[in-house]
């Protein structure tokens, strides 16, 4: 966290919403991306990202400064998205329950409606088929390069549970990709080195 961000955080901790708005300007991208990857819908992602920042602002006093601010925000977002997915599964989400959805904001903007490549669409479709916690672990690992410990901390899991979830998710993703009859090109892999590590 830069010195300026620390200053904004101190301002926000004193109840200054403008200080927190500056922090949102920096972290809105990663939080929105996580919500989008988790929920697969730009409107729900916008709503979840907004709710994440509202919850973070409300619970700012509980933020542990030893932890990266971004990880803390991603943790809030992941938990919210996991809850939303569960609620959606049981048909518990309604427009009345969610005051943040504003019809004026429903039109997707140029960024949200960016044309994704076919491969990207396929990845998004595969992600939505994963178990929600597995999905969150995959997103945190492959988009945000979080360590097992950080993922475990963010998702309230043990490190071994994270490893197990990631292993299962990788198997599922590869299996589903294969089922889509995509011709797999021959590959070379170094099993000893870290250069090919999927964890970046």
């Amino acid at each position: 966290m830069s010195e300026l961000e620390t200053q904004w955080l101190h301002l926000a901790l004193r109840g200054d919403a403008q200080g927190f708005s500056n922090l949102i300007e920096i972290y809105k991208g990663p939080v929105y991306n996580l919500c989008y990857r988790m929920l697969g819908d730009p409107i729900e992602a916008e709503d979840a990202a907004q709710e994440t920042f509202l919850r973070a602002y409300k619970g700012l006093k509980r933020y542990d400064k030893q932890r990266p601010f971004s990880t803390w925000l991603l943790s809030i977002a992941a938990h919210y998205c996991i809850d939303q997915t569960r609620r959606r599964k049981f048909g518990m989400v309604s427009m009345d329950e969610n005051p943040l959805i504003d019809p004026a904001d429903l039109t997707p903007g140029p960024e949200a409606s960016t044309v994704m490549s076919e491969e990207q669409r396929r990845i998004q479709a595969l992600l939505t088929k994963l178990n929600t916690q597995d999905r969150a672990a995959v997103i945190m690992r492959y988009w945000y390069e979080l360590s097992y410990e950080e993922i475990a901390d963010s998702l309230s899991l043990t490190v071994s549970a994270v490893k197990s979830r990631l292993h299962r998710a990788r198997n599922e993703l590869a299996g589903m990709w294969m089922e889509q009859n995509i011709p797999a090109a021959p590959v070379e892999r170094n099993y000893h080195g870290n250069a090919q590590s999927p964890a970046f």
Binding site: G15, D16, A17, Q18, S21, I24, E25, K28, G29, P30, Y32, N33, Y36, R37, A45, E46, A49, Q50, F53, L54, Y57, P99, L100, D102, D105, P108, G109, E111, A112, T114, E119, Q120, R122, I123, L126, V138, Y142, W143, H167, R170, N171, L173, A174, G175, W177, M178, I182, A184, A185, P186, V187, R189, Y191, H192, G193, N194, S197, P198, A199, F200
Partner: protein, 182 residues
Amino acid sequence: MAMLNHQPFRDWINTEDTLLPEQAQALQEHLRTCEPCRQLEASWIQVRQALRTSAPIEPNPGFVKRWQVHLTERRKIQHRRQSLMMLAFTGGVAFVLFLVISGQALELLRSPYQMALLVIYRLASLVISLDTTRDVLLGFLKPIPGVVAFPLLIILTGITSFLSVLWIVVFKQLTYARRIRT
């Protein structure tokens, strides 16, 4: 080959841990002869590549402005909820008091004679209490010269007014939702 025999190789294909040299060699040999495992490995590498190259998606412009609007709305809702809770509490207390008073009134209405006696008794007690209070106050104030009593009265009135205004200001500050500086 039975499915069970593939499992260790499948685990090695998808592991993030570095394989031991003998495991890596065994996997290489297995992949040379097993088409499904080769396909699985190729698929995982493609998925991993797609995950790596996937660009992060940005929200629509004006995200922070929308958040500020939501925060203001959320505070209004919270304030409204607090007001309603306060109203409900006051109403509840008033209702309980009403019930207590009604109970007493009903008790009294059953015997009008006793009620009349009680009212007279209460009024007489009140008059006596007021008289006693006046005597006590006069007992305190008599020693003070007349010149001091008047400025003291003014000071006391001033302090009381100031405290009342201060109470109103503090109450407003605590109950009104704060606005966001933009």
